[in-house]
């Protein structure tokens, strides 16, 4: 049920993002979601791709530091208050959100969000109890 995300270390300078996405494109990797966390010096690029292992290999071949991490993808109701309901559920469970970002896709009707939780099993159980749908890899790709 968990989905593998690729996190990539980047220096915060011009052209780095273009460079990495080109490597992924050349390797035939499809990017579904992307987010950047940055400081003045460096950034961490996080991507959901259709083939994490292959993407990681392509990047490592170019000496780019990356790591595969398990994240959760949550289906959010596409109505006002949809995201708030999800976040309230997580908050009530006492779990922290390390980071989150949106997925851009047309396959499923509802918007999707990527989450990394401080306690993954606990957050997932709380969301399932509240009737929130968690997406697995097969549904996504």
């Amino acid at each position: 049920m968990k989905i593998r995300q690729l996190s990539i270390f980047l220096e915060n300078r011009a052209g780095r993002l273009a460079g990495v996405t080109k490597i992924l494109g050349d390797a035939g990797i499809d990017i579904l979601a992307i987010s950047v966390a940055d400081t003045t010096d460096f950034g961490i690029l996080r991507v959901l791709v259709d083939d994490g292992e292959k993407a990681a290999e392509a990047l490592k071949a170019q000496e780019i530091v990356c790591r595969l991490t398990d994240v959760s993808v949550v289906s959010v109701e596409g109505i006002p208050g949809g995201l708030a309901k999800v976040l309230e559920t997580i908050n009530a469970s006492g779990v922290n959100i390390e980071y989150m970002y949106a997925v851009s896709q047309k396959k499923l009707p509802n918007p999707l969000m990527v989450f990394r939780f401080s306690d993954d099993p606990k957050a997932r159980a709380a969301l399932e109890n509240a009737g929130v749908k968690l997406i697995d890899e097969e549904e996504l790709f």
Binding site: F9, D41, F42, I44, E63, C66, R67, Y99, R116
Partner: protein, 434 residues
């Protein structure tokens, strides 16, 4: 008319050589007979003190390295009984064990004499009021300059550095005419003076003796034009004695080495082969009359040239160029020594690996800035910003704990640090490269 002490700066070179040879033979015998370290080294080479018949025979002697001082810490190179040792000093700013140096009463006399000759060369007289703003304690700078100034007969104020505003007050109130400190501290003092509206140019200060770290002609001009004082060079190293091994004269044509006490050679840093006069290489020094801890052919790793032609100031003592670089990659930052190996030693425990790294030193105004660039490896990488920021903080706080300097830690991508022949250059010193 030069004072009694200064007359030694003007000896006929033949006369000087005779003194040097007599002292060299005497110290070689002393080292061989009383320092277990040298007994062992001589015996291993089949060398006897009587093999040194002329000054040129010095090349037969073994080199002494900084590692020999570490390996024989703290008293292993001593050549006198403990009861004759009256003072210890130690090196600053290194991890692990420092380098400890011992002095007999006679050694302190010699040290005071050469430091005094350095100040006399710059024009200090018993009428001067001198403030010592080098650090005291283990470091040789404070005590060394202090003793030399007392020997000259100046009024000496042991201020010890730091506390710039108070120092400005002392300059004003005590009518201080001479200051001894690091050049970067003095530039800092100039900045503080500017901020608080203190007129150094109109003050009583006339001379500055600057050493313990490399500095440039640009800094000299900046200091002299900004304050109206004369900026003099003073060179020394604690292994050999302390400040006052060499000093600059009015000709500003290099630093005169007090070679009746410290015998200089220049060798090829790679092969150790002695180089002819005038060629650039590593400075090697032999203490001609230091009894507690004689050092034969000590490898300073400082790169310079020796000039034996007469100086326009009239002194016959050999001159060396100011030190601008070293044969190893030791950095001197704000008066503190730092080797890349020390940085490696603190990077290693973090994840059990030493990533590619480089130390970049720059100078903004008076202050040296240290940046440590570290290539992020898969082991060091975490997928959260907080993990990487914690890594930066860990490295910089370890550096701070080791050498007391706030270093900026930059995390860079693999390959970002230039390699030459597959080997990374660990030190980029931008202070002296224009």
């Amino acid at each position: 008319m030069p004072s009694f002490l200064s007359q030694k700066d003007y000896l006929d070179r033949k006369e000087l050589s005779a003194i040097q040879l007599e002292r060299l033979q005497r110290i070689v015998r002393h080292a061989y007979e009383h320092s277990p370290f040298y007994t062992k080294a001589f015996d291993a080479m089949g060398l006897k003190p009587e093999d040194i018949r002329a000054l040129d025979d010095i090349v037969k002697l073994p080199f002494t390295q900084k590692t020999d001082l570490r390996d024989n810490y703290p008293y292993g190179l001593n050549a006198v009984p403990r009861s004759e040792i009256v003072r210890l000093h130690a090196s600053s700013g290194t991890t692990g064990k420092p380098i400890v140096v011992s002095y007999t009463r006679d050694d302190l006399e010699t040290w005071s004499e050469t430091a005094a000759r350095c100040f006399l060369m710059g024009g200090v007289t018993p009428d001067d009021v001198a403030v010592i703003s080098y650090g005291y304690s283990l470091f040789t700078g404070g005590m060394g300059a202090h003793q030399g100034m007392e020997r000259v007969g100046a009024t000496v104020i042991p201020q010890g550095g730091g506390n710039s505003e108070k120092l400005l007050m002392l300059i004003q109130d005590l009518q201080i005419t001479v200051i001894c400190c690091t050049p970067s501290f003095f530039v800092h003092l100039m900045e503080v003076a500017g901020k608080v509206g203190f007129d150094l140019k109109g003050s009583s200060l006339r001379h500055g003796f600057f050493g313990a770290e490399p500095w440039t002609d640009e800094m000299r001009r900046h200091i002299e034009e900004g304050t109206g004082i004369i900026a003099h060079d003073i060179f020394g190293l604690s292994e050999i004695m302390g400040p006052g091994v060499a000093g600059g004269c009015d000709a500003h044509a290099g630093l005169h080495i007090f070679e009746d006490h410290y015998y200089p050679e220049i060798v090829d840093p790679a092969t150790g082969v002695a180089l002819p006069p005038g060629e650039e290489g590593e400075l090697v020094l032999t203490t001609l009359d230091k009894w507690a801890m004689p050092l034969l052919r000590y490898r300073t790793h400082d790169i310079t040239r020796l000039h034996y032609e007469p100086c326009s100031c009239g002194r016959t003592l050999v001159r060396m160029d100011p030190i601008r670089r070293r044969s190893d990659d030791m950095l001197i930052i704000r008066g503190v020594n730092l080797f890349p190996s020390q940085v490696e030693a603190l990077l290693l425990p973090i994840k059990g690996i030493v990533p590619h790294y480089e130390l970049v030193v720059t100078r903004t105004g008076a202050m040296d800035d240290l940046e440590i660039r570290v290539e992020v490896t898969p082991e060091l990488f975490g997928d959260q910003v907080s993990v990487l920021e914690a890594l930066q903080k860990e490295i910089s706080s370890k550096i701070k704990g080791m050498i007391g300097i706030n270093a900026r830690v930059s995390l860079v991508e693999p390959g970002a640090i230039a390699r030459s022949d597959g080997k990374t250059r660990h030190v980029i010193d931008k202070r002296f490269n224009k």
